[in-house]
Structure formats: structure tokens, C-alpha cells
């Protein structure tokens, strides 16, 4: 335990530099294509938002610590030092001006994972004490209360009670040996209770057993957003411990982008071993259920609608076909956005940006990219599969006076569910 400092920040960044990072920095040809891929650059046209520039402190540390020329330059006093001013200047680029959407990594002609390096850089910024206060607060709540929005178990229980009273469905907590363990994001508990009801109805129709863990109902991971692996590990371990002690086969990640990345991709690396259970996104589960004939839908949405691909789910998660198959079952007038799928543009609020109050103005500026995409389509409804995208989109649309409702795909599927009595 020591106070945050520049030295600590440098050491943490140094520890993050591995062979891939070294090869990325050596192979960058400064072509600038990543700038055009980044919505913070395209909407502000400020070159400081060029993705590769966001990792400039990390590049300097790599050069000074790990290259012969860099060491020589440092010895001759030719290299720019990394100091308080550097951390201060770059803090807003690394946290406020990046949603970790990963579009730059895909656009790089040399295959350099720039957004991965920004994620790694955050480790150093957090250690140096240069993380946004709101993210620190959220992380504190996640560690101490168990949820970044401060949601406690009684709130979840209250929601379950409402749900049981309204629909007559039964939701179990900590049911040993259930097949599925369902995770929720705070936002779904607080803002979108429809999600839980949709799950309950779909699971009953599919005839599957499922449960919610009292110690790990929260799917989000503030440790990943702020960039502190030590804390991210503690948070993800809650889910792993609960899932393994309940003996579930599959953990279902909710409609939340970074939660999915955290539990599915980063989790096993954080705890250093493979899970004893599978992790799937709710869209994968719905697609499996419909393919296996476990659930059927009826009726079609007639409104002209489009689907916003959440970055963590489509670009980083590879879940591109599933939502389309599902949408085509329940919507007759589904149109694709330009750049849909793996190259879709971020909602502008991912990677901790939406939780960071001071980034609001920048976020709304970056939202113009989504606005342009939507203006081209003139849709009545916008469908997505991430609670954070949903909230960001709703705010952006409202700010721009656009009257387009935003709907979660899981709920839309549940709305069209054929519900029949099954012998239990």
C-alpha cells in the first residue's frame, strides 16, 4: 500500500508492456488510419484524439526502457520525460476520449491492437492517481457494496417480488445445481426491469432451470473500466466462486457490453485458469433456444427498425449473426445501419465514458456519429443488446430532439414469445 505517484504509474505501465505491445510500437508506420476509425477524432477533428496518440506515454516508456536507441536518447537527455504533466494531459485522452470500442484496432493495417494498449495504459494512470473521480467512486462502490451503482441484494429481491406478483413466475436465488446462472447489470436492475421479466418468461418457456446468485448478481466490472487488474480480479472472482459453488453449467452475461468482455474474455486471464463453467451472452442463448425449437415466436414488429451493434458484443465478442437471426424472426421491417456488424460505430458511452460525468460534453459530441448513421435510415425504433449503449443512445437521442424509442432485443423477443403451458 503506497500513495499513487508518477513512479508507480510508470512502473505499472512498464509491467504491462509485453511482446505484442513491443511489436505493435515497432511496427506502427504512422499512417494515421486509426484516426479516421475513431469517433472522437471524426466528430471533433482534433488530432489529439488519434488513437495511437492516446498511448503515447506508453510508447515513450517502451522506447526509454526497452529499446537501445531509447536508452541512448534518455542517457543523452534527448527524450521527453514522463511526469505529472504527462499523466494529467493524457488522463482525459485515455479515459474521456476513448470508449475502448476497438474500432482502431480493427482498422490498423498492421494489426496493432491500439484499444488493447489503451486498456493497458489505464493500469498505469489508475496507479498514478490519474483516473476520473467518478470511475474511482464507481470502483469503490463495486468493491465495498458490490455494485458500481450501489445496488444491494434487497433491491434485486424487491424486483423479483414485483415480478413474481405481476406475472406469477418464480425466480429462485442460490438454487444449487441449476443449469443457468443469470447475471444482471446495475443498470438493468435500476432502469430496465423488463429484462429480468423477459428472462423469466423465456426460461420457463424453454423449460430450463436457472437461478440468481445472492453473492454475484452483478455482472459489471468497474475494475476493467478503470483499469486496475487487481480489483477486476476480485470482482470477477465473485462470479466464478458463486457459479462454481452452485455447480451451474452456464453463466449468462446480460445485455451489457463490458460485463460480457469482463466475464468472458478477461476473467480467465485475471484468475489465471479456465472456468469450470461456460459463459454465454444472452443473445447466444436466445439463438440456441430458437434453433433447438425450445422457444417460438409469433407476430412481427411492423415498425421500421435497425440494430445498433454494441462494440463489446459484436466487434470484440463476435456476436453478429445471432441478433440478425433473432430480429428477422420478430421484425418485418429490419434495416441495417451503415457499417453494421463488426465495424459498427460505438454509441459513444462505452468503456467507462458514460459513468464519467466530466466527459459528458465530449460524449455528446461523439454521439453525432450515431446521429448521422440514424439520420440516413429514418427508423421508428432502435434495437440494441447492451444496457449501457441503450442509456447512452436514449440520452443522445433526447439531447438531439430525436424521437426514437430504444429497445433491448431480449425484451423484444420475449414480447413475441409463444407461451404455452408445459407439463412440469
Amino acid at each position: 500500500m503506497s500513495k499513487p505517484s508518477v513512479e508507480k504509474g510508470i512502473q505499472f505501465i512498464k509491467a504491462q508492456i509485453d511482446a505484442p505491445v513491443a511489436s505493435f510500437f515497432s511496427s506502427c508506420v504512422h499512417c494515421g488510419l486509426c484516426a479516421e476509425a475513431c469517433l472522437f477524432y471524426t466528430e471533433t477533428e482534433d488530432p489529439k484524439y488519434t488513437p495511437i496518440n492516446k498511448v503515447e506515454p506508453m510508447r515513450r516508456i517502451w522506447e526509454q526502457e526497452y529499446t537501445v536507441l531509447g536508452k541512448l536518447k534518455s542517457a543523452l537527455g534527448l527524450s521527453k520525460p514522463i511526469d505529472e504533466a504527462t499523466f494529467k494531459e493524457w488522463e482525459t485522452l485515455v479515459y474521456d476520449g476513448c470508449t475502448l470500442c476497438g474500432r482502431c484496432s480493427v482498422a490498423c493495417p498492421l494489426g496493432n491492437d491500439i484499444s488493447g494498449m489503451i486498456r493497458k495504459s489505464r493500469e498505469g494512470f489508475a496507479a498514478a492517481g490519474y483516473a476520473p473521480p467518478d470511475l474511482i467512486g464507481a470502483t469503490q462502490r463495486a468493491m465495498e457494496i458490490g455494485s458500481p451503482m450501489g445496488v444491494k441484494l434487497p433491491a434485486v429481491k424487491a424486483q423479483i417480488r414485483h415480478l413474481e406478483e405481476d406475472t406469477g413466475l418464480k425466480v429462485t436465488i442460490d438454487q444449487q445445481g441449476a443449469e443457468y446462472m443469470v447475471l444482471l447489470s446495475s443498470m438493468e436492475i435500476m432502469n430496465f426491469p423488463e429484462y429480468l421479466e423477459a428472462i423469466a418468461r423465456i426460461m420457463r418457456q424453454a423449460g430450463k432451470t436457472w437461478t440468481i446468485a445472492s453473492t454475484a448478481f452483478e455482472a459489471t466490472n468497474s475494475g476493467i473500466q478503470i483499469g486496475v487488474s487487481d480489483l477486476a480480479k476480485v470482482i470477477v472472482s465473485r462470479i466464478v466462486d458463486a457459479a462454481e459453488s452452485l455447480g451451474v453449467k452456464t453463466v449468462i452475461s446480460p445485455e451489457c457490453g463490458h460485463a460480457y468482455t469482463a466475464v468472458r474474455w478477461e476473467g480467465p486471464n485475471l484468475i489465471g485458469r479456465p472456468y469450470k463453467f461456460e459463459v454465454k451472452h444472452i443473445l447466444e442463448i436466445l439463438d440456441e433456444f430458437t434453433k433447438a425449437g425450445l422457444i417460438k415466436t409469433e407476430g412481427m414488429e411492423e415498425a421500421r427498425l435497425t440494430y445498433h451493434d454494441p462494440c463489446q458484443i459484436a466487434r470484440k465478442g463476435g456476436i453478429v449473426e445471432q441478433p440478425r437471426r433473432l430480429l428477422n424472426k420478430v421484425a418485418s421491417n429490419f434495416v441495417e445501419m451503415r457499417d453494421a456488424g463488426a465495424m459498427n460505430w460505438c454509441c459513444s458511452g462505452g468503456g467507462g465514458v458514460s459513468a464519467n460525468e466530466r466527459a459528458e460534453g465530449l460524449k455528446l459530441k461523439a454521439f453525432k456519429r450515431k446521429k448521422t448513421q440514424l439520420d440516413e435510415l429514418q427508423v421508428d425504433t432502435l434495437v440494441t443488446a447492451c444496457a449501457n449503449c441503450r442509456l447512452t443512445l436514449e440520452e443522445g437521442l433526447e439531447e438531439n430532439g430525436m424521437d426514437i424509442p430504444v429497445v433491448g432485443l431480449t425484451e423484444m423477443v420475449a414480447d413475441h414469445l409463444v407461451e404455452e403451458e408445459r407439463g412440469s
Binding site: 500500500m1 500513495k3 505499472f12 512498464k14 509491467a15 508492456i17 488510419l33 526497452y66 480489483l231
Partner: protein
């Protein structure tokens, strides 16, 4: 009939007087799209960043250059690769833009008319046209093994090369002899460079080569009026400077000694290095691993097959495609091997130093708790 011919000629003349910028505008490509193309092309050619501007100015004002394309002992695979269109891109439009006055696969005219078109183009742009050749040239028995319109390839090349500003040898056959020159070489096939001695020649080898490399070379020619920088085998350095191995995404497995031993084993499924299955990536210079094929979809190694080394001279006779390279091949002598060994030693020492530097950083780093996040201001 004669009226038709006249209007066709008129149209041809109109097209010839159009600049590239006008041509793009007509095809619905925005100024912005064009500038983006120039920047990415500048990057692909490894030109300094400021050259994008230069290229944009030169290309925008460029008039249609005359290009004559001669196909000799070849399979048309190169033409296929180069004309492959994914979507109407500026790369394709460059091909539409150049005045391809003679290409016997692509042109509409045939027979007498076709040959006349070529002679006309050669006479009109004497000393200025770009000559593109695919296929090798048979020389045995006076070159009788491949003739077009009754004339041998040998004869046709000599005549066309005389008035060319530069010659581009497309494909491994034209660049290094390729398949026709492979043992037992019944036709006495030779590459373009064996016959044309007094003109700048650029080789774009590959069986087939990547379309973008071709576009890059043409864009460079239009911008600067000369061919790009080339290596000792006459290939543009920007695209052939690195080996497939150095740019391979499976390189990390090679470095860790993790190899697929068969096409259906665990290693193959895990995407390990294909070196032991005969991959020629370490001795092959090309841009497949970075530019990839089919609009950046994939390249052979990514699809699970070792590199055949198709852009290197004599690749057909370099032993089995499926036999592992035993020693570093290619343009290396013993001295280079020794120098290499020293280099490896130095590199390993530097790497070891960095490793200890890095592990010190990892070990020295303390665990962070929530209390450690707030800075006192």
C-alpha cells in the same frame, strides 16, 4: 457501321482527354474518398506522410496513360487477381482509368482489329507507354512454342519494349520464369529481365500477385513518373521488403517452438506455426501477411496452409511444398550465417536484459486496493 466506329473513336478520344479527378467524379467517388485512397496508398508504399498531398495533386491532374499488356506463357491467373473486384473501389477505377489499349483477355476487339489497336497505341505514345507483361517467354527453337497472330512472343516483346517508358513484369512467370521455366523446362522459358536490358523493369512476382501491389505501382508511376524503389530482385521494396514470416500472425508460436505436425493434429487446430508442414514464409518476401487477399479477408497461412513461396525465384523447383525448410535458404552465404549467428546472440542478450527489466517491473509492482486510487491534491 462506319458511323458506329466513328462514335466509338470519338468516345475514346473524350475519355483520353479526361483527368483522373474528372473520371472519379463521374463514377461517384467523392473528393474525400479520393484523398483517403491517396493517404492509404502513400502508407502502403511507405512514402513520407506529406506525399499524400503530392500524390493527390498528381493523380487528380493525370491524363490517361497508355498501357499495353502482353500475355505470354501464362495461365491468366494474374489478370484474374488484378481485375478481381470486391466493390467499385478507387483501385478498380485506376484500372478503368488507364488506357489499356491492348490486353487480349480483356479487350473487346479480336484478331486483326486488336493487333491494329496495339500498333496504333504504340506509335502514338512511343517512348511514353507502360508495358505490362505476364507470362514467361519461350526461347528454344527460335521461340516457336508461343505465338500470337503468327508472331513469336520473343519478337513481340522486343518490338513492344523498344517504345516503352518502363516495363512491369507481373507474376512469377514474367518476373522469374515461373512454372514454364520449372524443370524440365521444355520451351526454354526465360523471364522478361533476361531479354529486356535497356529499360527500367519492375517485377511484381507472386502466383498470382496481390492486386493492390499492382495498383500501388501504377499510382506511384502516375505520381512521380517513375517506378518505386526496388530490391535486388527488382521488386518494389514497399511490398516485398519483409518476409511473410516476419509479419506472420503465427510468428509468436514459432518463437515459442509450438508447431503443427500434421494438418489434422491438435497444433493445427490451435493455429500453431506451420513451419514443420513446409511453410516457406521465412524465405518468402511478399505482402500477403499484411495486405492479405480478397479485400483483406485472409491469406494462406491464416486459412491453415503453409506458404508455398510463390513470389520467390525457382519456387517450383525448391523441393516439396510440404517439406520443412532445413536451413535458412535464399540469398545467404556462410558469412551472413555467421553474422546472423552473432546478431542472434546480441539480440538474445538484449532480449534477456529486457526480460529481466520487465520481470523486475512485474514483480516490483504492488497490489492496488481501492484506497490507493485517490491522489491527494
Amino acid at each position: 457501321m462506319s458511323k458506329d466506329l466513328k462514335s466509338m473513336e470519338q468516345e475514346h478520344a473524350n475519355r483520353n482527354s479526361k483527368t483522373f479527378a474528372e473520371h472519379l467524379e463521374q463514377n461517384g467517388i467523392s473528393r474525400r474518398g479520393f484523398l483517403k485512397f491517396c493517404s492509404s496508398m502513400t502508407a502502403a508504399l511507405a512514402l513520407p506522410a506529406g506525399s499524400a498531398d503530392v500524390m493527390a495533386k498528381a493523380l487528380a491532374a493525370a491524363r490517361r496513360p497508355t498501357v499495353i499488356w502482353l500475355s505470354f506463357q501464362e495461365c491468366t491467373g494474374c489478370t484474374e487477381s488484378i481485375t478481381r473486384s470486391y466493390s467499385p473501389t478507387i483501385e478498380n477505377l485506376i484500372f478503368d482509368f488507364i488506357s489499356l489499349d491492348y490486353h487480349h483477355t480483356l479487350q473487346v476487339a479480336a484478331g486483326q482489329q486488336a493487333e491494329e489497336a496495339k500498333e496504333h497505341a504504340m506509335k502514338e505514345s512511343y517512348g511514353k507507354y507502360l508495358l505490362i507483361v505476364d507470362g514467361s517467354i519461350p526461347t528454344k527453337d527460335g521461340g516457336i512454342y508461343s505465338t500470337i497472330a503468327g508472331r513469336t512472343n520473343l519478337d513481340l516483346l522486343e518490338e513492344a519494349a523498344a517504345g516503352a517508358a518502363a516495363v512491369v513484369a507481373v507474376g512469377t512467370c514474367a518476373a522469374y520464369g515461373g512454372l514454364p521455366m520449372a524443370k524440365p523446362d521444355p520451351t526454354g522459358a526465360v523471364p522478361v529481365s533476361a531479354l529486356v536490358k535497356d529499360k527500367p523493369i519492375m517485377n511484381i512476382p507472386g502466383c498470382p500477385p496481390i492486386g493492390l501491389v499492382m495498383t500501388g505501382a501504377i499510382a506511384h508511376f502516375l505520381t512521380f513518373g517513375r517506378l518505386p524503389d526496388m530490391d535486388e530482385l527488382g521488386r518494389p521494396k514497399a511490398f516485398y521488403g519483409d518476409s511473410i514470416h516476419d509479419r506472420c500472425y503465427r510468428r509468436t508460436f514459432y518463437d515459442q517452438g509450438l508447431f503443427a505436425k500434421a494438418f489434422d493434429d491438435e497444433g493445427a487446430r490451435k493455429g500453431w506455426c506451420l513451419y514443420e508442414l513446409g511453410c516457406k514464409g521465412p524465405t518468402t518476401h511478399n505482402a500477403c501477411a499484411t495486405l492479405k487477399w480478397n479485400d483483406g479477408v485472409s491469406f494462406p497461412i491464416e486459412s491453415g496452409h503453409p506458404c508455398l513461396g510463390c513470389s520467390e525465384p525457382n519456387f517450383w523447383d525448391a523441393g516439396s511444398f510440404y517439406e520443412a525448410l532445413s536451413v535458412p535458404q535464399g540469398r545467404t552465404g556462410e558469412t551472413i550465417l555467421k553474422a546472423g549467428a552473432i546478431g542472434v546472440g546480441v539480440g538474445a542478450a538484449a532480449a534477456a536484459l529486457n526480460r529481466s527489466n520487465k520481470s523486475a517491473a512485474v514483480e516490483g509492482r504492488e497490489t492496488i486496493t481501492v484506497e490507493d486510487l485517490k491522489r491527494e491534491s
